[in-house]
Amino acid sequence: MPSSSSPPSGPRQGWDRRRTIGAVAAGVAVAALVALLAIGLLNKGVETSIARALDAGERPPAPDLELPVLVAGDGVGPAGGTFSLEALRGRTVIVNVWASWCIPCKTEAPILDAIARRYRERGAPVLVLGIDVKDLSENALAFWERYDLSYPSLRDRDGDVDGALQTTGVPETFVIDPQGRIAYRKIGEIRSEEQITPVVDDLAPA
């Protein structure tokens, strides 16, 4: 009586091995594809931890961004070099995310410049710092000249600011305290100096 548990014949065994290798290869390919999709989804995810922390009355740490300098000034520079936000610890920094094609940015730039001049004249350790995003550098420089802006600006060439500051668009303004924590965030246009100065004065009384 033939045994049902007898080992399979040679060709059959070879065929099973090929099928196993094929299944493993297909499994690896599918796993790699799923992993790539997962990485893509995780990277595209909208991070809102800064907004949540601010809503809870906390001050989340500001990211340590190192960006090219578009316009030097107030201790930020030289133009063309790179500058790290971390180098501004000890000063209150008003970070304005802007672009030359952004219409509200045109309205608020003179207001931000007035704020910068106000604290500079007082000798207060307060700095206004622009970060130009998604912009042609020549247009950004023309914008600076057109509005005769006195404060410095960095450039976000590689799109790092979106993720690091969790911006939703332009303009957006952040107030970073002397300890390097985000104390305030304004989405949209700054319409008056008083929208920003009370926050700044609370952090660094002049």
Binding site: W15, R18, R19, G22, A25, A26, A29, A32, L33, L36, A99, S100, W101, C102, I103, K134, D135, L136, S137, E138, N139, R157, D158, G159
Partner: protein
Amino acid sequence: MRAVLIALALVLAAPALGAALSVNEVASELRCPTCNTPLDVSNAPAAVDMKAFIADRIERGWTKQQIIDALVEDFGPSVLATPPKRGFDLIAWLVPALGVALALAAIPIVTRAWARRPRGEGAAPPEPTPEEARRLEDELRRLGDV
């Protein structure tokens, strides 16, 4: 001899006589940094500025590659419509190619497997239980009576 010289001149001048570089020809290889759509179909303010930049550089006689390089310098490599064929971005090109190669390699294996499968294997219906056989007989008899 004159004809040969004219032909030679035409060949040498061909690039200049060819279709002039258009804004969309350059823009189609880039994407809008604010809306992530192809630059040639985007009307976002940033895209409008970029197209004006392209038009200006074409007028100045820049080549397509020079214009693209300048925009990559300003916006980073993510401004390219297709990822560069080097470094980590190479994966984006290799994975689909690998998928196609695997699929092609699988065709002979799968067809051989189908060809070797004994006819009818797994297709034979199970034997009816005595109860099912009795009901079947009853149904057939009833149909026969009708």
